[in-house]
C-alpha cells in the first residue's frame, strides 16, 4: 500500500494509508484467527508442510557452513586416531558378534516356544538411520529436526532410538524432514517398566534440566535410586525392552501421598548426530492380510474427519 503511494512521498515524514491502529487491529485479528485455527482445528498441517518444503533449500544453505566444517574436520583426522578408532571398533564388533550369536540362538528358541504357546509372533521392526539437521528453533521445547520425511516413508508417531536407548518420538513430518520430540519434552510420555521388578509406569518429560519423572505413583512404591527403566511395549510404538532412563532421585514427603521420582534418560539425548527411526509395528492379527492393510487404514482414518466437516 505504501508502495502505491510512493510518488507522493516527497517529505515522507508522514505515513500514508490506513492508520497504525487500523493495521494493528486487522493483523491482530488475523493472527488470533490463525492461532485458534491451528490450535483447535488442525487444518493447517498441509499448509505448514508445503511452506516447510519451500524453505528446504534455504535450510540446506544454512546448514552448509557447519557440514563443510565437519567434513573438513573428518578429512583432516590424523592417522593415529583413525588407527586407534579402528582397533577399538574391531574389538567392539568382535564382542558384538559373540553376543549376536547368542541372540540368534535365543531368538530361534524364543520363536519355537512362542509357537508352542500359540502366542502372537513379535514382529521385528525395521529401522532407518536419520541424521539430525538441527535442534528445534525454540530452546524451551526439546525437539530436533532430522533429515528424513514423508518422501522417505516416515510417519508421525514413529519411535526414535539410538544405540543406548529411547531418544523420542516423531511428532511432525514434512516432505524432506521431520520433527522428533525428545523424551525430556514436557509433552511426551513413554510407557516404561522397572527392569528389576517389572513394575509398569509412565515416564513424562520435565521440560527442563533434561530429566524425566514418574508422577502419580504411591509413596510406598518399590522403586529405588539406580533402578533402570525400560520400555514396556504396551503402547505398540516403542519396541519392548529398550532402555529409557535411570532413577536418580526417589523421595517421599509426609504431606504428599505420591512419591517424587526423577530419572535421567540413558540415551545420548543431546550428543549424537544420528538417530534410528523405528517403524510402528503392525497390529498383530491372526490373518496376515489384515496386518498388511493396517497402514492404509490409518491413512483413511486421518482423511475421514476432514471429509465429514466438508459434508456438514
Amino acid at each position: 500500500m505504501a508502495r502505491a503511494l510512493e510518488h507522493q512521498h516527497h517529505s515522507g515524514f508522514f505515513i500514508r494509508g490506513p492508520s497504525a491502529t487500523a493495521r494493528l487491529f486487522f493483523f491482530a485479528v488475523l493472527s488470533l484467527v490463525l492461532i485458534a485455527t491451528d490450535a483447535r482445528l488442525h487444518y493447517l498441517v498441509e499448509v505448514r508442510q508445503g511452506f516447510i518444503a519451500l524453505l528446504h533449500p534455504l535450510q540446506v544453505i544454512a546448514n552448509a557452513p557447519l557440514s563443510l566444517a565437519e567434513n573438513t574436520g573428518e578429512y583432516l583426522h590424523t592417522q593415529s586416531t583413525v588407527v586407534k578408532e579402528n582397533i577399538q571398533l574391531k574389538t567392539q564388533s568382535l564382542e558384538h558378534a559373540a553376543e549376536l550369536q547368542r541372540f540368534r540362538a535365543l531368538e530361534t528358541e524364543n520363536e519355537r516356544l512362542r509357537n508352542l504357546l500359540g502366542a502372537a509372533q513379535s514382529s521385528n521392526q525395521p529401522a532407518r538411520l536419520a541424521e539430525i539437521l538441527h535442534m528445534g528453533r525454540d530452546p524451551f521445547s526439546h525437539k530436533v529436526v532430522v533429515n528424513l520425511g514423508t518422501r522417505q516413508g516416515i510417519i508421525a508417531g514413529q519411535a526414535a532410538i539410538d544405540e543406548t536407548g529411547v531418544v523420542g518420538q516423531v511428532t511432525r513430518v514434512y516432505p524432506f524432514s521431520s520433527e522428533v520430540t525428545l523424551v525430556t519434552d514436557k509433552d511426551l510420555a513413554v510407557p516404561v517398566q522397572v527392569e528389576r521388578n517389572g513394575l509398569r509406569a509412565i515416564a513424562f518429560g520435565q521440560g527442563r534440566d533434561s530429566t524425566m519423572m514418574l508422577p502419580s505413583l504411591p509413596a510406598n512404591v518399590d522403586i529405588r535410586k539406580g533402578d533402570k527403566l525400560i520400555t514396556s511395549g504396551i503402547d505398540g510404538v516403542y519396541p519392548p525392552g529398550l532402555a529409557v532412563a535411570e532413577v536418580v532421585l526417589m523421595d517421599t514427603t509426609p504431606d504428599s501421598p505420591f512419591a517424587h521420582i526423577v530419572c535421567k534418560p540413558l540415551a545420548g539425548i543431546e550428543k549424537h548426530r544420528q538417530l534410528l527411526l523405528v517403524s510402528i509395528p503392525k497390529t498383530e492379527r491372526p490373518l496376515s492380510n489384515n496386518a498388511m492393510e493396517s497402514p492404509a487404514a490409518t491413512r483413511t482414518k486421518k482423511v475421514a474427519p476432514a471429509k465429514r466437516h466438508a459434508n456438514q
Binding site: 500500500m1 505504501a2 508502495r3 510512493e6 512521498h9 515522507g12 515524514f13 505515513i15 500514508r16 497504525a20 491502529t21 493495521r23 494493528l24 493483523f27 491482530a28 488475523l30 493472527s31 488470533l32 484467527v33 490463525l34 492461532i35 485455527t37 491451528d38 490450535a39 493447517l44 505448514r48 511452506f51 516447510i52 524453505l55 534455504l58 535450510q59 544453505i61 544454512a62 546448514n63 557452513p65 557447519l66 539437521l133 538441527h134 535442534m135 528445534g136 528453533r137 525454540d138 530452546p139 524451551f140 521445547s141 525437539k143 511432525r172 520433527e179 514436557k186 509433552d187 521440560g207 527442563r208 543431546e270
Partner: protein
C-alpha cells in the same frame, strides 16, 4: 537522504532469516538474538513507509513456520511490536543513540513477553530467566550495528 527502494529491506530480512536458520545448538541456541525482529525494528524505525505492521506480521509468520510452534503467535507479537515502533518513530528521531537503544530493548523484551503469554495459553510452562537472554544479546548486536555505521543515513547519528 531517504531510501525508497524495497530491495534492501527484503534482502536484509532474507539474510536475517538465514542467520536464524543456522543450525544453532546448546548455549548458542539460548543466547541467539532474534535477527528477524532486529531487522524489522531497524527498518520500522528508519523507514516506516517501507516496513510497517504488515511486513512485521508476514515476517512473524515465517518465524512461526521455522520454529514449528502455533501459527500466528510470533506474527501477533511482531505486529504489536511494530505498532509501538511505528507509532513512536517520529519522536524517537529526537533521541540520542542510548535512548534509542533503551527503547529498542524495551520493544525486544515486550515481544518476548507477548510470545511467552501466547505460549502459556497454549500449554507451555514458565521458563527460567534465561528466556530473556535473546533480548540482551539482541540489544548488544543492535549497538554493534549502530556503532559500526553499517547503512546508517546519518540522521539517527546526528540527533
Amino acid at each position: 537522504m531517504r531510501t525508497n527502494s524495497l530491495k534492501p529491506v527484503y534482502f536484509s530480512l532474507g539474510v536475517a532469516l538465514l542467520l536464524q536458520m543456522l543450525p544453532w545448538s546448546g548455549v548458542g541456541l539460548v543466547i541467539r538474538p532474534e535477527f528477524i525482529l532486529l531487522t524489522l525494528l531497524y527498518w520500522a524505525l528508519r523507514a516506516p513507509h517501507l516496513c510497517n505492521i504488515g511486513t512485521a506480521w508476514f515476517a512473524g509468520l515465517v518465524v512461526d513456520l521455522i520454529t514449528g510452534g502455533l501459527f500466528g503467535q510470533y506474527a501477533l507479537a511482531f505486529a504489536l511490536t511494530a505498532f509501538f515502533a511505528v507509532s513512536y518513530q517520529r519522536r524517537l528521531a529526537l533521541f540520542n543513540i542510548w535512548q534509542q537503544a533503551g527503547y529498542v530493548f524495551l520493544l525486544l523484551v515486550f515481544t518476548q513477553i507477548i510470545v511467552l503469554i501466547l505460549k502459556l495459553f497454549s500449554g507451555g510452562e514458565i521458563p527460567g530467566w534465561e528466556y530473556f537472554f535473546p533480548s540482551i544479546s539482541g540489544i548488544l548486536l543492535w549497538q554493534f550495528v549502530i556503532f559500526s555505521r553499517i547503512n546508517i543515513d546519518g540522521r539517527s547519528n546526528k540527533a
